[in-house]
Structures are given as structure tokens and as C-alpha cells.
């Protein structure tokens, strides 16, 4: 049974990765999950300089979903390289660094800093974060500005470049086509849906940052649709995510066209979610005599 997949040049021993921002910098869940068993670890969004993030409350629970407005709290790229990557290098797992910037140049400089960095297997370019004032989703909402960021990153690194797209657009396929042309090796979809919650006692938005990003099982149908549409529009591989909590969920994404999947919010509910998703995929393949996971990619289109 072959589980190995290749996402834009990143070789993964199986198709199950962690979603950025839901698995910290790798160490936090290492007591619950053997990192060696994962297909890839995608770490928290990283910026050039350290960031404090947004004021509390940063999360709110919604029906089968989670709103977050963390605001890219992170120790900055230098600290990530010096203090956190060494821990991850102990494991036999590709590490993908999620990068975010305020300007096109920020992204390029991050890409440069991480280029040829031992222990970095690829970059996930976050042009879809709804929780920061500058950059983030603004870039990802428009095919042209999205392409501009990706071109800058592409020119600054020889690492595989994954563009992470926002679902908060009229046509995600148009953005996908644009970043593919700009040189992205793969696509991650989806980032969170823009949402909010209001506390009727205080009559104020629940989140410190007012709006936030919706993730978790609630968004799964939207994420699957995005993967389905983008699979028809572009040829580069897709890392699918959005509400995946079980092997069955992951298989839906793979059949819709994802070459691999990432588990996000589900880690909070089940710290072993990644491993359970992987087992679920393996069980299905065994029961259905699927010898190669790659044979299932896009199966629902046939």
C-alpha cells in the first residue's frame, strides 16, 4: 500500500500534515503524536519580526466551528530558525514554514532567509490570513496581488512554494490560476472564512479583534467545494484543509482533488487527530483494495 505523495516537490511519507497555527511550532503536541508518523508539519505563521498578536479574547466557539483572531503571534523568523527548527530537525518529517508579511518585500525577504535553511522542506505563503490589518487576506483577495506576492517569493527561494488561498473571494479558481502562473508549486486551501460573533450581554463583538477566521467542521463543505473547483482549474497539487477530523473527511478532500490534507482545528478536540485521520485513510484503502493513495486523488471527478 503506497501512501507516499509529492506536494510540489515536498515528499511526504503519507498525505496527512498539520495545518499552520493549530500545531504550534511542533513541540506542543509532541507528547501526544509521534511526529515521525506525520506526512508533514506546517508550523505557525512566521513574520520577519516578532509579533504580539491581537488582544484577548482571541477565540470563540460557534456551532461545529471556531472563530479565531490570533493575529499571527509569533517569535519572528530569526527565533524560529535558531530556537525552534532544531527541535523539529530531530524528526524524520518535512517541515513547512508558513510565512506572512505586510508587504510584497516582506514575503520575499522571509523566503530568502529560509532558503537553503537546513530542516525547511518548503514554504507555505499565507496570503489569506483574515486577522491582520495589513497584508494577509488583502493580498489573497485579488488574483493580481496574489500573483505578485508569489512571484516575489518564487524569485527569492529554490524551496517548494505553496500558496495558501483565502475562501473569501468570488472565484477561488481565478486566484488559483493566477498564483499557479506566478510560479507556485502547490496550493493550500482553504484558510479560514471571515466571520464574527456578538455577545448579547455586553452588546459587543466577542473577539478582541471584532472579526475572525472561521475554521473547523462547520466549514468543511465550503473547503471541499474550493478543492473541487480548483482541481478543475489548475494542474499543480493541492493541500486540502478545512474541518478535517476523520479519515472519511480526508478521503472526501482527496477524492475532490487534494493530493494531501492538513488537520487543523481538529487537533484541539483530539490531540491525536492527525494519527486518527491517517489510520482512517489506511483502513479505507485496505477495505477497498486501493494500492496507491494517489489513485484516489480527484476520483470524484471521474
Amino acid at each position: 500500500m503506497n501512501l507516499q505523495v509529492n506536494i510540489g516537490g515536498i515528499k511526504m511519507k503519507n498525505p496527512v500534515a498539520t495545518a499552520s497555527g493549530t500545531f504550534g511550532l511542533g513541540r506542543e503536541y509532541s507528547g501526544f503524536v509521534d511526529l515521525n508518523r506525520l506526512g508533514a508539519v506546517v508550523i505557525k505563521g512566521t513574520t520577519l519580526l516578532p509579533r504580539l498578536g491581537n488582544p484577548a479574547p482571541r477565540i470563540a466557539e460557534t456551532p461545529a466551528g471556531l472563530l479565531n483572531a490570533i493575529g499571527l503571534e509569533n517569535p519572528g523568523v530569526e527565533a524560529v530558525v535558531e530556537q525552534y527548527l532544531p527541535f523539529l530537525r530531530q524528526f524524520d518529517v518535512p517541515v513547512i514554514v508558513n510565512i506572512a508579511g505586510d508587504t510584497v518585500e516582506d514575503y520575499a525577504r522571509l523566503a530568502q532567509r529560509l532558503d537553503r535553511q537546513v530542516g525547511v522542506a518548503g514554504l507555505e505563503v499565507n496570503i489569506s490570513c483574515p486577522n491582520v490589518k495589513k497584508g494577509g487576506m488583502l493580498f489573497g483577495s485579488d488574483p493580481d496581488s496574489a500573483a505578485e506576492v508569489i512571484r516575489g517569493v518564487r524569485a527569492s527561494t529554490s524551496l517548494p512554494v505553496i500558496a495558501k488561498l483565502s475562501p473569501n473571494v468570488t472565484s477561488i479558481a481565478a486566484v488559483a490560476e493566477s498564483v499557479a502562473q506566478a510560479g507556485a508549486d502547490a496550493l493550500s486551501l482553504i484558510n479560514t472564512l471571515l466571520g464574527m460573533a456578538i455577545d448579547i450581554r455586553s452588546k459587543r463583538p466577542v473577539l478582541g479583534n471584532i472579526m475572525g477566521g472561521l475554521s473547523g467542521p462547520a466549514v468543511k463543505p465550503v473547503a471541499l467545494r474550493a478543492v473541487w473547483q480548483v482541481f478543475r482549474a489548475v494542474k499543480i497539487p493541492i493541500l486540502g484543509m478545512g474541518g478535517i477530523a476523520s479519515g472519511e473527511d480526508a478521503l472526501q478532500f482527496i477524492m475532490a482533488g487534494a493530493g494531501a490534507v492538513a488537520v487543523g482545528t481538529a487537533n484541539f478536540i483530539n490531540p491525536a487527530a492527525t494519527i486518527d485521520v491517517l489510520k482512517g485513510i489506511e483502513d479505507y484503502m485496505e477495505e477497498n483494495n486501493i494500492l496507491d493513495i494517489n489513485d484516489l486523488v480527484g476520483a470524484a471527478h471521474r
Partner: protein
């Protein structure tokens, strides 16, 4: 530790709206220390989605039992209150950084407000063990909205005679437990341990001199419970002025030094 199928031994309403949950979990009982919490799934379905953080009320290491005292505050805890002995609970823990235990002979004050007092019982039973039962130096202060919500008998059962305060004056001092503490405790103590609602911690912080060490437990909304999601932040002092950094309650806390917090 993570166990999807922790057996529920008991789950009884011990005060109006408050339940005492007893879990069979030798591993957690062994590892737990006062001030730490469990991260509990109150539902087997996707709604409500997140776990709920609940402090460890006490741990019976011999029998391998862990207790939680909780208020049915909303949907999650209401579902929890509906569970019965024999049901299985999905539990992570013990998580977080708890209280620093005192050395025997040090004079300490333990101050709890409302359901916030829950983790202090575990602390008191550890103190009792450390002090070998010689509890002259331990002053316990309990506050609650009304008499029937005071955890006085539970405290007394451990051998402590608590000072009590209630908002409605039904039992003990009429007023806040902090006012009671200030009224009562002329003499300085070496360390204070406190837990309760934010206004209580705030007035404690105002009442304290700068040289008293106080450890308090704080609450914040949590996602992961292990430091991965960065959601459960509270501001802690960075230098002398108003400068701060964000600490993560689940990992750096829930117990913090009161001097580090902003109120």
C-alpha cells in the same frame, strides 16, 4: 496524558447548580499537582466543539481517582452534568503550571471565591500533607454568593477552620472575601494562594503590599490547552511600566504571580 475513555465513577449535584465529578484515572491522579487542570470534552458530537478547562478539585492517588467540582455554567457543562456513572469521558491532562507548594512552617493564606475555590482544595490537601497536619500557620478564607454555595464543610473535613464571607450575609461575614481577609489578617503571611473571579483578584491585588508573594489562578478561553493555538493569552508585565507580553494561560499558567498580572 490523553484518554478518550476515562470512566466516570460519580457525578452528583453537591450544591445547587454545582456538580462533583469523580473519574477513575490512576495516571492523572499520580501526575496531578494543585492548580493544574483537565481539558474535557463535554460532548461526543461536534457541538459543542471545544474542550472545557476544569481545575482538578482533588486527586486520590491511592485509589487512582481524580475529582472535579464544576458549575453548570453553559451548554458544555450542562451536558457534562447529564453524564452518569459508567459513562466514558474524553479527558486530557493534567495540564498547565500549578501552585508552588509552601515549605512547612511558612504562614500562608488561602483565599477562594465561589466556584473559583475549587483548585484550592487540592492545594489544601497537599499543604496538610506537607505540614504533617500542623496547620496553625494556614489561614483559609472562603467567599460565595450565598451560604449554600460556600465550600466550608469540605474545607473543615480537611481539618481547616475557614473564615467565611457571603454576599448576602447568610453565613459568616457579609461582603467580599477580600474585605474579610483585610479585616481579619492583620499579621503578614509569607504567601497567599488565591483563586476566584476577576473582580476578586483585582481587589486582592490592590490590597496587597508589594512584598507579599501571592499566586493566583486565572481563566481565559482555551482552544488546545497545550500552548499550540495561542488563543488563551493574558497580559503579563514586561519591565516596570505598562509594557507587557502575552503569556498563555494553558501553558505558562493558569497560576501566575499576582505581581505579574495587569488588573
Amino acid at each position: 496524558m490523553y484518554n478518550k475513555n476515562t470512566a466516570i465513577i460519580k457525578n452528583d449535584e453537591v450544591m445547587p447548580g454545582h456538580w462533583l465529578l469523580c473519574l477513575d484515572s490512576p495516571d492523572i491522579a499520580r501526575a496531578a499537582s494543585p492548580g493544574q487542570f483537565l481539558h474535557v470534552r463535554c460532548s461526543r458530537t461536534l457541538d459543542p466543539l471545544l474542550r472545557r478547562p476544569l481545575s482538578i478539585y482533588c486527586a486520590d492517588r491511592e485509589r487512582g481517582r481524580v475529582y472535579i467540582l464544576y458549575r453548570a455554567a453553559g451548554r458544555g457543562t450542562a451536558l457534562l452534568a447529564g453524564m452518569r456513572p459508567g459513562d466514558r469521558l474524553d479527558v486530557m491532562g493534567p495540564l498547565g503550571k500549578g501552585y508552588t507548594l509552601p515549605s512547612p512552617g511558612r504562614s500562608v493564606a488561602v483565599i477562594g471565591g465561589g466556584i473559583g475555590a475549587a483548585p484550592l482544595f487540592f492545594l489544601l490537601s497537599e499543604i496538610k500533607a506537607i505540614y504533617s497536619g500542623r496547620l496553625e500557620n494556614v489561614a483559609v478564607f472562603l467567599g460565595a454568593a450565598t451560604g449554600e454555595l460556600l465550600l466550608a464543610s469540605q474545607t473543615a473535613a480537611l481539618g481547616f477552620s475557614p473564615y467565611t464571607a457571603t454576599d448576602d450575609g447568610t453565613v459568616g461575614f457579609k461582603g467580599s472575601v477580600i474585605d474579610l481577609y483585610i479585616d481579619t489578617n492583620g499579621s503578614k503571611v509569607d504567601r497567599i494562594y488565591a483563586c476566584g473571579p476577576p473582580p476578586m483578584l483585582k481587589s486582592l491585588s490592590r490590597a496587597l503590599g508589594p512584598d507579599i508573594r501571592a499566586e493566583v489562578s486565572v481563566e481565559e478561553r482555551m482552544g488546545c490547552g497545550v500552548g499550540a493555538c495561542l488563543s488563551c493569552v493574558c497580559k503579563v508585565r514586561e519591565g516596570a511600566g505598562e509594557e507587557f507580553r502575552y503569556a498563555h494561560v494553558c501553558k505558562d499558567g493558569p497560576v501566575f504571580s499576582i505581581q505579574d498580572l495587569f488588573f
